[in-house]
């Protein structure tokens, strides 16, 4: 078998390759030509999710309960579909606020609370340390197995006898600490990105996938003859047969399957290493979309051969006490495939080291920024506020954090390593980080979540997690009496940690997750709803929740008021980032705002915010806030002032509404103006028509007068009869001309409203009788009979007597003109309506066609054809009459059918009902 030194040499060489890749990645990044800026590297680096737990542990779990390991990988696949909605938002928020860790994210969301950041860090460290120790255990185990050629289970008891200095795991831990320090804390960077590291992680992901696929293919097609053969034999195996239909049996209930899926959905986002890779190390938000299907594909690929290897192992080692967790390694070894076994060992090493490195870096950032720094900065005695350069201190804290976390992991491994199988430890860590789900998911979609709510929820969830998972694991490790699990604390059965409040029938993880989520979400929501948030919390909440609405623009949203100086801010930044970096950052910022040098800028809220975000990248949001506050004389905003700002904002909204209103009114006015203009044009055209018609009408009589005058003038010898006849025509035409001119003037006066009205109360009966007398001569001449139907008495009306006479005479003379020439009959009648009087003048003439009934009321228009028939009037009588009647509030109209005569009617309102209208008309006239 392989010699120990060969294995050490190859392991060292492999780690050397990793160093080289990371070094190359960092060099390229410094040169500005990133090798990780593509979605494939991003997807591969996300596969840091698959740890030694996946590499070795999945097979172990599959060997005991069939498909029970799958939810851990199906959950992330489902979650990936939601990443477009959830993770894109988290990445955008983090980039805008320079968030560099989970603790920073939660602390920033809830008003940059240092307390909350510290709590998250503690939960993360407590939850993750066992998980790290699990990786160390995997590396050490696989090394021992491959070195000693001993396939059987290595007990912790055996390892415990090895002194620390002779223990592989200890050296592995220290080697990994070195790697993490070299590539994770090389220098302080505001964005906290580690390109070389990501490149190395992506490479490791590739190696572990290839190694696992290689052993899978070897087992399935080398040892057995394909899937059919393998599964066929498994069906005959007494132990495996029951694993083929595991639900309700080995894999537990459907409920625990669903809860495991849910748990891994949260884990893929909130494990510190996943957050580090997916959010902090993300180069471009758009890489997310390809990773959303490439990463699930990776997990599908790495899981295809899990069952075949597990079944193959169980059948192969049915009589030997070999730990199923090591089947991946022991199967090739048992088949004497040394190089394949070595490849598997390297694959397992990749899986474990990748996880440990990223996890410790993520945790060290959290420990430094959210646990140690806030405390140090608050200790006035240390005078940290006056130290000129703190970047060395920051790096130092992180390096010590990395070493401490790895040592803690190693310690846990030494003390409790064998208490659980790999999978059980992994799930306990998953359940711990799942507690971050409610404050983060709630925080980015719900503005109402408060700092107190998040604190209470996290504490409650963490407490329940510790009680139902962590303490029982201590008890099983022998650190607590077993009676704690079996009888409950102090013998209280209701408080048994594995059957809390008597809830039975669930597996341990489901049970713990159910209670802790209930406590977490319940407390978070309740406390948030009951309490109220401060101004800072409120502004941070809307910054996070509405991140897409702001379109990347953070200016103008800083609720800040105070005084600062540019020099102070730059010096502050210099102390953490180094003076040169700080200077560069400030110059770039000034140029972005259109100034040559930062000194030319007013140190306003925007600049303070800029400095704070830069600082947040290096030392976390909560610490950055404390530091900035130390150089800026900030006046705390009271809630009233924030309300004032909101008022201003709502006033601006109101103004803009008013503006919209005004512009709408303007548009309406424009439309009205346009209509009025159109109407004016129309009137102008009508006036032109009128003038030309009038001149035409005037010229007709004038022409005949002139013609007959010339005849008389040129022929002095004309006989007396002829002369008298011609003179008669001249007189008649002159009269017509006069009448025409009078009427035109009359109409003009009426239309322009300049007519004089002599209004008085009058009796319409009398008016009609006067008119009949005035026209009696006309009736006699034409031999037309007139019938009158007048009531004995009617109420008085208010009108101009002469004008009314004009109307009635006009109607009567029209009736005489157009009635039947042989048997002419005209009837005039007067009726009383409730509020008006109606006068009808009926003739028995040829009647008026429907078309002409409208036309006759227009100026110079008469019924019939003007061109062929001789006009029988001026064509102005009816328009004038209508004007007069309408002036007094009445109506003039005609009813007629051709051949049946015509009836002209008009109404006039009674004096009482017209009083109001008359008043209005008088006002108008005035």
């Amino acid at each position: 078998m392989l010699q120990g030194w060969v294995i050490i040499l190859i392991s060292g060489a492999y780690l050397g390759v990793l160093f080289a890749i990371a070094y190359y990645g960092d060099k390229r990044a410094d040169a500005g030509r990133s090798i990780i800026a593509n979605p494939y590297i991003y997807s591969l680096s996300l596969a840091v999710y698959a740890t030694a737990w996946t590499f070795y542990g999945s097979v172990g779990r599959a060997a005991s309960n069939g498909v029970g390991f799958l939810p851990i990988y199906i959950g992330p696949t489902l979650m990936m579909a939601l990443w477009w909605v959830v993770m894109r938002k988290i990445i955008r928020i983090s980039k805008m606020n320079r968030i560099t860790s989970l603790a920073d994210f939660i602390a920033s969301r809830y008003g940059k609370s240092a307390l909350l950041g510290g709590l998250v860090t503690i939960i993360a460290v407590v939850g993750i340390v066992p998980y790290i120790s699990l990786q160390l255990k995997a590396i050490s185990n696989s090394f021992e197995i491959i070195k000693s050629d001993n396939l059987e289970i290595i007990r912790a008891g055996q390892l415990g006898t090895v002194p620390i200095l002779g223990d592989t795991a200890f050296y592995v831990a220290m080697l990994l600490a070195t790697f993490s320090i070299l590539f994770g804390t090389r220098h302080l960077d505001a964005s906290e990105r580690h390109e070389g590291l990501v490149a190395a992680i992506a490479f490791e992901s590739l190696v572990k996938l290839l190694a696992f696929l290689a052993v899978g293919v070897f087992v399935t097609f080398g040892i057995y003859n394909g899937f059919g053969d393998l599964f066929g034999r498994a069906a005959d195996h007494p132990k495996l047969a029951q694993l083929l239909n595991p639900f309700g049996g080995a894999a537990g209930s459907f409920a625990s399957w669903a809860w495991l899926t849910f748990l891994s959905m949260l884990a893929i986002m909130f494990l510190p290493r996943q957050f580090q890779i997916a959010v902090v190390e993300n180069v471009d938000e758009n890489h997310l979309s390809k990773a959303m299907w490439l990463f699930p594909l990776y997990m599908l690929a790495i899981n295809v051969f899990v069952l075949p290897i597990a079944f193959g192992g169980v059948m192969h080692f049915s009589n030997a006490p070999v730990d199923p967790d090591t089947f991946v390694l022991t199967l090739p070894m048992a088949e004497r495939q040394e190089w394949l076994a070595l490849l598997v060992y390297i694959g397992g090493l990749s899986a474990a080291t990748g996880m440990v490195i990223v996890e410790t870096i993520a945790l060290s950032t959290m420990v430094c920024n959210d646990l140690v720094m806030p405390v140090l900065l608050r200790m006035k005695g240390l005078r940290l506020n006056e130290s000129p350069d703190l970047s060395g201190l920051l790096l130092g804290i992180r390096r010590w954090a990395i070493v401490s976390i790895l040592l803690l992991g190693y310690l846990y491994f030494r003390l409790a390593g064998e208490a659980y199988a790999l999978v059980a430890i992994g799930l306990i860590s998953f359940a711990a980080v799942a507690q971050f789900g409610p404050p983060i998911i709630g925080g980015i979609f719900w503005k109402g979540g408060t700092r107190m709510g998040a604190l209470a929820g996290l504490s409650a969830g963490f407490a329940v997690w510790a009680y139902t998972l962590l303490l029982p694991s201590f008890a099983k490790s022998g650190w607590l009496p077993l009676s704690f699990i079996e009888q409950g604390p102090f013998g209280i059965a209701l408080l048994k940690p594995l059957q809390l409040f008597g809830l039975e029938g669930l597996d341990q993880i489901t049970h713990s997750l159910l209670w802790s989520m209930l406590a977490n979400v319940g407390t978070f929501v309740t406390v948030s709803l009951v309490g109220h948030e401060s101004a800072v919390e409120h502004s941070q909440a809307s910054l996070f929740v509405d991140v897409f609405k702001r379109g990347g623009d953070t200016s103008g949203v800083h609720l800040w008021r105070g005084t600062a100086s540019v020099e102070d801010l730059q010096a502050l930044l210099g102390r953490f980032l180094g003076p040169e970096r700080a200077h560069e950052a400030f110059v770039a910022y000034a140029q972005r705002r259109g100034a040559l040098m930062p000194q030319h800028l007013e140190p306003d809220a925007d600049m303070v915010h800029f400095a704070e975000t830069q600082l947040a990248g290096a030392i976390g949001g909560a610490s950055a806030r404390i530091m900035v506050a130390s150089v800026v004389k900030e006046e705390e905003l009271t809630i009233e002032e924030v309300m004032g700002m909101l008022d201003e904002a709502s006033q601006i909204i109101a103004y803009s509404h008013q503006l919209q209103q005004k512009s709408r009114e303007l548009e309406e006015a424009t439309a009205e103006l346009r209509a009025a203009n159109e109407r004016l044009k129309e009137l102008d055209r009508l006036k032109d028509d009128f003038v030309s018609t009038v001149s035409h009408e005037l010229r007709t009589p004038l022409t005949s007068i002139r013609a007959f005058s010339e005849i008389l003038h040129d022929n002095p010898g004309l006989d007396a009869g002829e002369r008298g006849k011609f003179l008669n025509i001249i007189i008649k035409e002159s009269e017509r001309l006069t009448r025409l001119i009078n009427q035109v003037l009359d109409l003009a006066k009426l239309e322009s409203g300049k007519a004089e009205w002599h209004v008085s109360e009058l009796d319409v009966r009398e008016v009609i009788e006067d008119c009949i007398n005035a026209t009696s001569q006309l009736f006699r001449e034409r031999n037309v009979r007139l019938e009158t139907h007048l009531p004995a008495a009617v109420p008085l009306i208010v009108a101009d007597r002469d004008r009314l006479v004009q109307v009635v005479i006009n109607l009567l003379s029209n009736a005489v003109k157009f009635c039947n020439p042989k048997d002419g009959r005209v009837a005039i009648s007067l009726h009383r309506h409730p509020d008006s009087l109606q006068v009808d003048v009926k003739d028995n003439g040829p009647g008026i066609g429907a078309r002409d009934q409208v036309v006759i009321f227009e100026k110079f228009r008469q019924a019939g054809d003007n061109l062929t028939e001789k006009p029988q009037g001026t064509g102005l009588g009816l328009p004038i009459s209508r004007q007069i009647v309408e002036h007094f509030g009445g109506r003039l109209w005609v009813e007629s059918e051709p051949g049946k005569g015509a009836t002209f009617s008009f109404t006039l309102p009674l004096a009482a009902s017209r009083a109001g209208a008359a008043g209005a008309a008088a006002e108008k006239a005035a």
Binding site: I74, A81, W84, V85, G228, F231, W257, T261, M292, L300
Partner: protein
């Protein structure tokens, strides 16, 4: 390119479909003995459904 809103909705739909695939009661239909091309029904179903979900994700994301 599809608008982000539509894309988001399609992805949520894929998520819901996945939830349906990998939960009771659909899962219980395949929790039975028998094989498809030598592979137990339940395993064949799980990996097939998994592949379908990934395929749908790729389809939604890569379609322009």
């Amino acid at each position: 390119m599809i608008t982000p809103g539509i894309k988001g909705q399609q992805l949520v739909a894929v998520f819901l479909l996945g939830c349906l695939f990998f939960n009771y009661p659909l899962l219980s239909l395949f929790n039975q003995s028998g094989t498809v091309f030598g592979v137990p029904v339940l395993y064949a179903y799980l990996f097939l459904a998994w592949g379908v979900v990934i395929g749908l994700l790729a389809l939604v994301i890569e379609r322009r």
